[in-house]
């Protein structure tokens, strides 16, 4: 998974020379094939598991030497590209609850605004990297753990032939205690719109800070906190991610000015192709196995990040323009 490994595998030195691409905003020259490969890898994940794959792009780009802000800003537009075709496909088969989706998007837009303020504050304090790292460890560790536990339980149940006990409650008691209730017909829910709004805000903030789409947080939260049905969860999450990453790209273009269109273009070329391949593979595998694989990948990234916090880093010093 390391870029250097990819480099060695995908291209010989002469090709590497020809594929040097200068990134005008990141201000450095990279190997175009490595970036496309990176995009393809995350696209593959997004096609297979329905997550944006941004949680892998941002750290790998930073690892490759791209400035963190540019990495987060450009990864957001990659997630847009990766989720478009999925969202269209879901729309055709009626897998999107536009009503709850609109509330989520509204929350997401507020969240990106808040996220951008938070980004600036943390940047001026010099703690943005640490916060991003800790967020990654906590979120990926927590969700990866949950997913692993669940998919192992499901696989065991399949082997022994005993079905899993049905889930007892539809949505979290906290959601029921919120004031104001709306009917969301497509999801068959009668809940306060504040719940999806807050959820949308949380993913908006994370998208702005981490360059992730938030799919891997949104999907479980919609299932277990809002209690939405499985048939609309993936489509609605893609719908929300699509719009929130679009807003995030705009927000970065207007505030941090760190969207590198060349970098985003290369990532997109890889990820849109990868996403199609991923969808193809996903149809061949069992969903429980897929989720276990995703859980392992998520946990591996979390572990790498946690080690990164604890071990003495390669660079003790960082330069920030005043």
């Amino acid at each position: 998974m390391a870029p250097s490994g990819l480099l060695a595998r995908t291209c010989r030195p002469s090709v590497a020379k020809a594929m040097d691409v200068y990134l005008p905003i990141a201000n450095l020259s990279v190997n175009g094939l490595v970036i496309i490969g990176l995009g393809a890898l995350t696209g593959l994940l997004s096609g297979m598991f329905g997550v944006g794959g941004g949680f892998l792009t941002t750290p790998l780009l930073i690892f490759y030497g791209v400035p963190p802000t540019v990495a987060a800003a450009s990864a957001a537009s990659q997630v847009t590209g990766a989720s478009v075709s999925g969202a269209f496909a879901q729309a055709r088969r009626g897998g999107i609850d536009y009503h709850i989706g609109a509330v989520l998007v509204a929350g997401g837009v507020i969240g990106t605004g808040l996220g951008s303020l938070l980004f600036r504050l943390l940047q001026s304090l010099g703690q943005i990297d640490t916060v991003i790292n800790i967020l990654y460890v906590l979120l990926l560790g927590g969700i990866g753990g949950l997913m692993a536990q669940e998919s192992i339980a499901a696989l065991r149940a399949q082997k022994s032939g005993q079905p899993l006990p049905a889930r007892k409650r539809r949505h979290h008691p906290l959601v029921a205690s919120l004031p104001l209730r709306w009917r969301f017909y497509r999801s068959g829910l009668y809940i306060s719109p504040l719940a999806p709004l807050l959820l949308g805000m949380a993913t908006g903030i994370l998208t702005m800070l981490m360059g992730i789409g938030g799919g891997f947080i949104l999907v479980p939260a919609m299932l277990y906190i809002l209690g939405m049905g499985v048939n609309v969860v993936v489509g609605t999450s893609l719908f929300q991610i699509l719009f929130v990453t679009m807003v995030t790209t705009m927000m970065h273009a207007l505030t941090t000015r760190a969207v590198d269109i060349v970098l985003a273009g290369l990532l997109l070329v890889g990820s849109v192709t990868g996403a199609q391949l991923g969808t193809f593979f996903a149809q061949k595998a069992k969903p429980e196995q897929l989720r276990l694989v995703l859980a392992v990948i998520v946990l591996a990234v979390a572990l790498r990040m946690a080690l990164g916090l604890g071990y003495r880093p390669d660079e003790i010093y960082t330069v920030v323009p005043l």
Binding site: D20, V21, Y22, P24, I25, N27, L28, S29, S77, Q78, T80, G81, A82, S83, V84, S85, F88, A89, G126, Q127, D129, T130, I134, L242, M246, T249, M250, M251, H252, A253, L254, R257, V259, I261, V262, A264, G265, L268, V269, V272, T273, A275, Q276, L309, G310, Y311, R312, P313, E315, I316, Y317, T318, V319, V320, P321, L322
Partner: protein, 255 residues
């Protein structure tokens, strides 16, 4: 040291009177005065060359040492230092520098320490050790040293600060040449190349040439658009990403 000062002044005056006319002339040149950063830019190699002549126009006929200093645009920076706090490495300390060069390279014909004494080296900033970074605020000398060394070490490993002793070649006591490379991550702006001719521990001649590093063509267009037309640029990025996702979806759906 101070006791010798009048003597030095006297000898300087004597030099001016007697030998002043014999100070050599330095004619520096650079392989390119403009570096264009455009697609495929992976850095540049600059050849700094020139001649040391005696005023009569003949060759200098004496042994000179040449030191070339190439300096990029100066910027104000915050240098952050990570320390282990509660088991995690986080940014714990920082220092602001008013004038940190974004690029700094020194090439010399012999090790700097053998050409000049520390004082002269410090005055002319001959070497990374003598970089004048002008920290902001009141700082302990020890802390300042720690941060300066940290910055130099970091920039050195990024190829943005370099010190190449013995890389200046002098032929026939007249011509000199040095090759200095710029990585692809250099900042745009005006770079100054200052050449020093040194004899007997003293700088006897110096001259400055300039190099402009600028983005051209598409790269310039993108950088300017991102900076000035955030709305359009952002919209364009969104349209590109949605369009590419959509096209790929269509292509694969049919294929």
């Amino acid at each position: 040291m101070t006791g010798r000062k009048p003597l030095r002044l006297a000898s300087l005056a004597a030099c001016l009177l007697l030998l002043g006319a014999r100070d050599p002339i330095l004619v520096p040149e650079i392989s390119q005065h403009e570096i264009q950063v455009r697609q495929g830019f992976t850095g540049a190699d600059l050849l700094l060359f020139g001649a040391v002549l005696s005023p009569e126009g003949s060759r200098a006929a004496q042994d000179y040492d040449i030191v070339v200093v190439l300096e990029g645009p100066v910027q104000s920076i915050v240098l952050r230092e990570k320390q282990k706090v509660a088991g995690m490495w986080i940014n714990a300390d920082s220092l602001e520098f008013r004038s940190a060069p974004s690029y700094f390279a020194v090439a010399s014909s012999r090790p700097i320490g053998k050409i000049v004494d520390d004082k002269t080296a410090a005055i002319y900033e001959l070497g990374l050790k003598w970089l004048q970074l002008s920290p902001i605020g009141v700082i302990e000398p020890r802390e300042q040293k720690r941060f300066s060394e940290g910055l130099v070490d970091l920039m050195r490993r990024q190829g943005l600060y370099r010190e190449d002793e013995g890389s200046v070649r002098i032929s026939g006591q007249v011509l000199y040449q040095a090759r200095i490379s710029l990585p692809s991550s250099v900042q745009t702006g005006t770079y100054t190349a200052e050449t020093f001719a040194i004899r007997g521990g003293k700088v006897v001649a110096s001259a400055i040439t300039r190099v402009d590093v600028k983005k051209e063509g598409f790269e310039r267009f993108v950088a300017v658009a991102a900076e000035r037309n955030g709305w359009l640029y952002g919209l364009f990025a969104v349209v590109v990403s949605v369009g590419m996702g959509w096209i790929a979806g269509r292509l694969f759906a049919r294929g």
